[in-house]
């Protein structure tokens, strides 16, 4: 970083422009925040701002795992179901009297198994990731439904409760966890060999394979990471509700994908933007919070997430002038 010394001292304006270019969501986020702060008095309270940070922290963990996957030029739609199944497993084991820590480990293990399954189907059987994970989305939700028998699994466990309601030095636990995970992902993505491998597979898989990278192993590892992130998501959500159920988490995969895409990670692969994903999570959560405060019906939230996703992609693509035939998921 410091080896290249620029010839002339850069102005503050050019430095600001550089920061904005690396995180294009800063301005829309500021606009939404300022707009809501002026229009809705309830938005400005400290409690509400903590609510937003709290919700964004829960969303950002699966978003970061999804960032790695999209950097690889692939998708995982099954994460919404992984959340459901792992939450159901954790709650059922706790209800049946197993130690809480063991139940959480089992949930993580189930998440990892879903990830390995996805990875093997995609790499060894040569199935397009988008459709393969669409199928596992349905299969895993079916398993969750069969496992819970369609019932809500109600629990009251202080250890589980800590994951959503606990505080570390006065800060809610999910926020602390999210900060740690963001730091880890920044390090892994930009400073380790694995991060560079993922980007290499995303920019040109054939070239990566020919230069000797263990491409299949890298891809499976990323799907396992997503499975684990889905398990963490499931644990936090069932901790929040103190409940496991097969109907939780429907459509959550859209949120995880949307925050990555609006954050500026390219769908074509090869370029990750961790900070973009964090800002994306903040933007979506702020918009949903604002819609809630304005008493807009919940159906509008789905619509707004869908439109944000499509709109962000349209802006990306128009700027880059991609031809229509280059848009297919055909690799």
């Amino acid at each position: 970083m410091t080896t290249v010394v620029s010839a002339k001292p850069r102005s503050a304006a050019s430095r600001l422009r550089e920061v904005l270019a690396s995180a294009p969501l800063t301005i829309p986020l500021l606009m939404v925040v300022v707009g809501l702060a002026i229009a809705v008095p309830a938005f400005r309270t400290g409690g509400n701002i903590e609510n937003i940070l709290y919700a964004a922290s829960i969303l950002v963990i699966p978003g970061l795992a999804m960032t790695l996957c999209i950097t690889m030029g692939e998708f995982d739609l099954s994460i919404g179901s992984t959340l459901t199944l792992t939450g159901a497993v954790a709650c059922t084991l706790i209800r049946d009297g197993y130690p809480s820590a063991l139940a959480l480990l089992a949930a993580l293990l189930v998440g990892a198994i879903v990830g390995i399954g996805n990875g093997l189907i995609i790499t060894k059987l040569g199935v397009t990731p988008f459709i393969a994970t669409l199928a596992t989305l349905v299969i895993v939700r079916g398993i969750a439904q069969a496992y819970t028998g369609g019932q809500n699994v109600q629990v009251a466990d202080p250890f589980l409760k800590f994951f959503a309601g606990g505080r570390v030095l006065g800060v809610p636990f999910p926020i602390v966890l999210a900060i740690v995970v963001i730091a880890i992902f920044l390090w892994v993505t930009y400073r380790t060999r694995f991060g560079r491998w993922v980007a290499a597979v995303g920019s040109n898989r054939d070239a990566a394979r020919l230069s000797g990278l263990p491409v299949d192993r890298i891809r499976i590892t990323v799907y396992v990471l997503i499975g684990l992130a889905g398990a963490v998501w499931g644990i936090i959500i069932s901790s929040q509700l103190q409940r496991g159920s097969a109907i939780l988490g429907v459509g959550f995969e859209l949120q995880a994908i949307t925050i990555v895409v609006i954050g500026g990670t390219s769908l074509l692969g090869g370029r990750a933007s961790i900070i973009g994903t964090v800002l994306g999570a903040l933007l979506i959560v702020t918009i949903q919070n604002g819609l809630n405060l304005l008493n807009v019906p919940p159906a509008f939230q789905d619509i707004s997430v869908g439109l944000l996703l499509v709109g962000a992609l349209a802006i990306q693509a128009i700027r880059r002038r991609v031809p229509v035939e280059a848009l297919d998921d055909k690799r």
Binding site: L77, G126, V127
Partner: protein
Amino acid sequence: MTSADVQKRTPLTALAERARGFHLGTFWDRWGITAVLAILVIAAIVIQPGVDRGAFLNILNITSILKEASYLGIVACAMTFAVINGTFDLSVGGQLALTSIVSLLAFGIGGSGLAIAAAIFTGIACGLVNSLLVTAMRVPPFVATLGMLFVFRGIGTLLTADGPAKLPYADFGSVFGQIGKISFGGIPLVFVIMVAFFLVGFVILRRTGLGRQVIAFGSSPAAAKFSGISAVKIRFFVFVFLGLSVGIAALTYVTRIGTADGAAQDGFELRVITAAVLGGASLQGGKGSLVGTFSAVMLVTVLNDLFRDLQVDSAWQRIILGCVLVVALAIDGLRTKFPGFSVFRRVTALRDQRVARAG
């Protein structure tokens, strides 16, 4: 553009294979899914599940299977076009829910004529939105349609905020209500509509320049572009055609069920794509058959009927459907990954090697 494109079978080698006699791969490509369907139907007749409900061959049961197949089949036919073209549409479930709701609401306002027109126009409008996103805004089709799935369902939920849209019981006798009810000697009208749609689809795909362009673009976008085929026009056609098919499918669906809300037909897109892929369409593009899709639609519907008769839990139905899709995709994926792989050929290659070494 992977090496798979280069290694695709040319007509010449296909001819050579036919000349060699029976070839399992070729047979599977052409008749596999029909054979599976035939075996399943024979098994169902022999086992006769759900004796208390009447046998499988009961005329009422057959009529209900044909009705159930129709709306799935109409959309699966158009989806086959999309898959052959190298793309797919995840928003068909949302389109079907929204179109059904709009046509029911329109029936309340202006009767049968308006309801039918509303269904067709809403379907085409949904297709137009998708195709504009893909062709004008350059959003990748799979993500565009994923986003629109939630948008369409959200709009449907907003429209039915005061409870699901319903066809009043007294109006089942109207022209609109009769679409899903009439049958000619056990063959329901909706099934006739589906067969007609497949015939039109077949003619477009195999007998017109437009169909050839769809196939050519799917098998090699670059080559198609250099031969002057407009990618924008082809994609526009594919998504609008899907929208039209959903409009017609919604007519055959909602006139039978009589009610719809934003969550109607959850997971429909998966069943449609499963039918197209089971029917032999390859997600790599350029390959697919409407006859195969037709058989696959009947197969999926008969399977569903058997599940109901055998009282299989809905959770297990999902798991099995998902696994069927994965297996169908894996067959396609493995063939793309290892083209020309066959145990027979490997054995002959080993023998040739030995002979060469000995000689």
